[in-house]
Symmetry: D3
Subunit: 281 residues, 6 copies
């Protein structure tokens, strides 16, 4: 379920190529056959090969994109990710956009995988948030899954999360949850954000299906886990990093959501080397 | 020259709200007046306030967005960036998208400003690259300028940069530059990427207007500066970071391009607090 | 939460007006001021006045659309729904599209209201389905709510409903539910379609959150209600009409989904009468 | 001349699938080969098979859609309309949208065919109107033709129909027709709506090419036919149903327009059964 | 009935400005108030002022565009067409696109007016064709009307013109006209292209409503007028220019269609002079 | 580097065909195989065959478009440009749009080639301007290249040209050039428009890379060439025609820009003849 990402590819290509790739047009003879190798310049988890493939295919249906590994594979520096054969002009014009996607998504998958591995022996799932890069949510959430993480709701339309700002406007947790129960499709669970023990009790009482523990200390989380005792799911949230994730997982929460997975991405270093094919004699 | 960013805002809102913000619809009474404060949770340079303003305006023309500072301002933790007044449902539905833009762009401006300041006493300009987030180039390049950096070419259509892959296909630097000189509009300079002294000499000889020194050591760059002696512009490129930028600037190059400004962004922490307005009695 | 329906209005106007309304252009003097009355030609529940307003506003921002009632109101033959003042050409060119929306949505609201009232004394909610008119889902689901019904999931992306076709491919109810439990965001309940007692037992055992009873007789449904005994929600579905809905509600199910609400709509008869305004002397 | 309906299919799929079909993704193994049968659950005239084919093709070019009959065929309960082979996930994700189109269009064709057959021995053509579902006009008018009906003008830009509201603004039938004659392309006939004998005479005198008899009784229509005596075409309109259509046809009018063909559609019951293909040993 | 031309303006601006107007951004201080005068550099008929106004309005709602004349006015060299006040950057960025529209459309109106005047004392209408510039049809047909010409059918969907290529495929004029009579909406006349007397007779016999005389000599046309004797409309077509139009008109045909009105446009010379406003003291 | 012109083709087809080609649908039997010949009706340089090919391909992927010459070829009256084989309905529906593109672009190439040939023995390049037809810039600039001309900047985003209006707002040539030097990407040259000797001197002094001589006499241009003496490029501009171009070239300027290449196009006469294919026995 990678979702439909053709539109963002089209935009990215329009953004970068627009009326034409001047350099390639000027210096490369039309229809020169070429082959390129996409390779890792550092170790990590790869995500986005189908996206890179589609970038080239969107420019020219004659390109042959041959992945050498699959999304989710762990690569080392120097490993080949894919071979790309076709017109030299296509390879050159599509290179940057293909790499921009691949490096960004692989960066997300790599970071996610690190966190997932760190808490592998605990019950907690690592989940993403809505703190994604505008326009790229469908791809970024895919990269999180590639890295072994799970997705939280996709957007505002497919989940109910009553946050502090809602509660303030609605006039209290109880009021907000009751309204949601009446109006929201029966297919959705209701999640509420709480910041302290009093709010936790109130949320529990109203029958929330999931409770988000916002910026709580591990001790507070542990207490919450005991209090709730399985009556609903518990999600830890708020500035959780590689340094703190294990301590959080140890508290026994069901879910750990990490905004930085998608809001502060370090691109994985990946590049492309092109060669001309020896012309058939 | 922020460029036209209405479309990406529309997409980001569609992506996040789609058929509707279920939580807000369910728990907030229509037309409840509210006020929100957008505030910094850490120090940095702010970029993107006009974008955030437009996010809310795209949802509801009755929102009043009052910036308390301007893009480019330096803020400290707790500083107010803007006040937003309007219907509570608009504020709640637009919050995440507005913040996603603002945090991302402010992250870019903050990092750029750091590098710019580090080399302030040298001739070199800090410039960006085409390693931007798909769909966000116009905004990210704006954020680089807000941070005091300069823009390199925007895309493949507005500049000529003959890179290693082009040279390989074209059959040499001289060949590539001559072709470009003939075919490319007279309004554009011609830039060539070189990786060693021999290529530098060849590029100089062909009359390149700008030479990009790819992944050279400071010593190699210094030699290039001496050899060129003002006959063309010199751009340093390749994995330059906060740690290495001063050494690069000291070599006397004219430009330092830093892909990480836009490919590995750490979001600046910014949030929004909402309150209901006291209803008129 | 009416959702964003600007795009479908734009399309409907493009579809009907295209390069221009020939008749109006030919026979009406530009800028002739006029007033029109939108009125019911039969009794029913009105839905879509904000849509009709937006149709005219999309053509001409100078139109004044004054609803005389609100969506959800019960009208009788001859009742005025709204007054529309503005240029005669705008009123004439927008009339058909505005009425097409209004009549269709009011037809849905009217039928929904009839079913809702019929089962008002039972616990069951009347809910809609995905059997909607292509392109109009957001509006049709709104009209269902206006008529007092509730919405089921909006689409394939915001709910999990494992239907017979899925079960066949997945290799059984148990297998399907377990897979869904692992992969699907924790914010969503899992619903399973069953057609007989054996499947019902299997679904219960796997811990489904909601069970859809497909085309069961009232007796079978009653048995299902007893067996389940509150452990999950029960939804009745399959050809339910005005004739059978009460019998279904009496079985004690939680939800009754009715595809015909949106797949077989009888438009409510609504028309528009235009007059020229007496010009100021 | 089915027209271009790719866009509405794209929208319908976006509307229903959006970022992804959660259920199918969760429970179905990728690339599972499957076959589905689309079959009639009640008797009627089928319309929309090319549309259904395109729905699946839009999702996945590897799907093989094999119609077993052609649009316009009369089917009985249980008849197979088409076989669909391809990936199980494609069949499951496209099912609802394909059926929504097919059921709606077949509903229109079925009703049209009934009316056409009822008046088969009279000169009158059954024609549609602009009372169509927003966004679906091109398809609905196609379905009317499939059912044996004829199309009236497609929209406001390809025909001239001076209605009561126009006449009121223009200041009389004569005035309106003269203006139209001067300004409208010479390729279009001019049609005028009349409600009584006096207006009929006026329209005839001005040389209208077609006269629409609005809500007249059969007796009034018969008189009109006699008065006109072949000097122009006569179209009967206004609430005509299966009950009244023969009486109208008997009057000798040339055209009978029926808004309900497209504004009050009863979907034809059609469903899809999926099976896994036995994998090759 | 200028039609909807917002989209083509949006594209023209995107095409010319794209990510930003570099020159203006670099050299003009933001928010500098300015005023510009749009003036004729040669004599002609002006068309397109509402389009030019919309160009500036699309960039900046604060611009005040004050036409000094109306579309259709005859101007001499030096005459002022409009004043434009607003931010200097808006005026500079929109100038070229606004002028490109205005000059092109005025060129069409000027040429049309010349032909219309030349045949003013004859019955023939000057009409346009489908030989328009791709994307600009709605505007070009408007400019023809501004110049006093009439429009032929707008496109393939709103008129029936059976041309030589159709006749060849259909197997004869009689066959083609009969098919059209049965299938085409009753609101459209049927036009047939003929190239000689024999075809003319055949077309007359089949009851064509309009006959297009393709590339006939004035003598042949005169004969056609006599033969037809008012039984249908006659349209002269084929390479008619300023030199030949009067001779054609003299033959008594009803319509003279001139492709060159829109396929070979000489732009009218119009330019824009900008001034800074004296800032308020 | 023809650029992406799929969108404008799609629009041109939508504009001309919209909901359907009535005539073809009515008179041509579906799937009739046919062949058409596209031929020159006058001598000229052909441009746009790939565009015409794409027009038909956009309608129907089964069409076989076989160019008999390549863009840039010189043709005489009667020469065949291409053969088109496929369904008769596709050929008929696509004919007009394909020819509209082909005739317009060939008109541009033909005129450009004339000017290029006229100045072939001088150093000056013939270049285009931004005075293009809205929506067609990418294609028109391509046609200029096909005719042997060169392109000026594509748009406002890929070149800096400080014109008289800019200078007036910026407060002088020196001021404007300095600002541009600081703010504009280092990859772009800076061009300034001057109208007399004094401005020329000022522009030279500020170090402009290119100077545009606006509406100067050949004598003034010759003086400018001498004064500049190779220190920057010189571009002649302003109403240059076939009559004056040689005199301008003789002055020794580097570039001659001709707006009329694209703002006042005379279409090359090209038509299409269709035949039915003898059906296989």
């Amino acid at each position: 379920m990678l979702g439909d990402f053709q539109e963002i590819i089209k935009q990215a290509l329009a953004e970068d190529i627009g009326p034409g790739d001047l350099t390639t047009w000027a210096v490369v003879a039309p229809d020169t056959p070429a082959c390129a190798r996409i390779l890792a310049k550092e170790a990590g988890i790869v995500a986005g090969l189908p996206v890179a493939a589609r970038v080239f295919a969107s420019l020219d249906t004659d390109v042959r994109f041959s992945p050498q590994i699959r999304d989710g594979a762990k690569v080392s520096r120097g490993d080949t990710l894919a071979l790309v054969e076709g017109r030299a002009e296509t390879l050159l014009s599509g290179e940057r956009v293909a790499l921009n996607f691949l490096r960004h998504l692989s960066g997300i998958a790599t970071r996610t995988a690190g966190l997932v591995q760190a808490v592998a022996s605990y019950r907690a799932r690592i989940v993403d948030t809505r703190k994604t890069t505008p326009g790229l949510r469908v791809l970024e959430k895919y990269a999180v899954r590639v890295g072994g993480g799970h997705n939280h709701r996709f957007a505002l339309y497919d989940g109910v999360l009553i946050k502090e700002n809602h509660i303030r406007v609605a006039g209290g947790i109880g009021q907000a949850v009751s309204l949601a129960r009446v109006r929201v499709p029966h297919t959705l669970k209701i999640e509420v954000e709480v910041t302290n023990r009093r709010e936790l009790d109130e949320a529990l009482e109203t029958g929330a299906d999931i409770i988000l523990l916002d910026n709580m200390s591990p001790d507070e989380m542990r207490e919450a886990v005991e209090v709730v005792n399985g009556r609903c799911l518990l999600e830890a949230s708020g500035g959780i990093t590689e340094e703190t994730v294990v301590a959080v997982a140890k508290t026994g929460v069901d879910l750990i959501s990490v905004g930085a997975l998608t809001h502060s991405v370090r691109a994985l270093d990946i590049s492309m080397d092109i060669e001309i094919l020896t012309p058939p004699v």
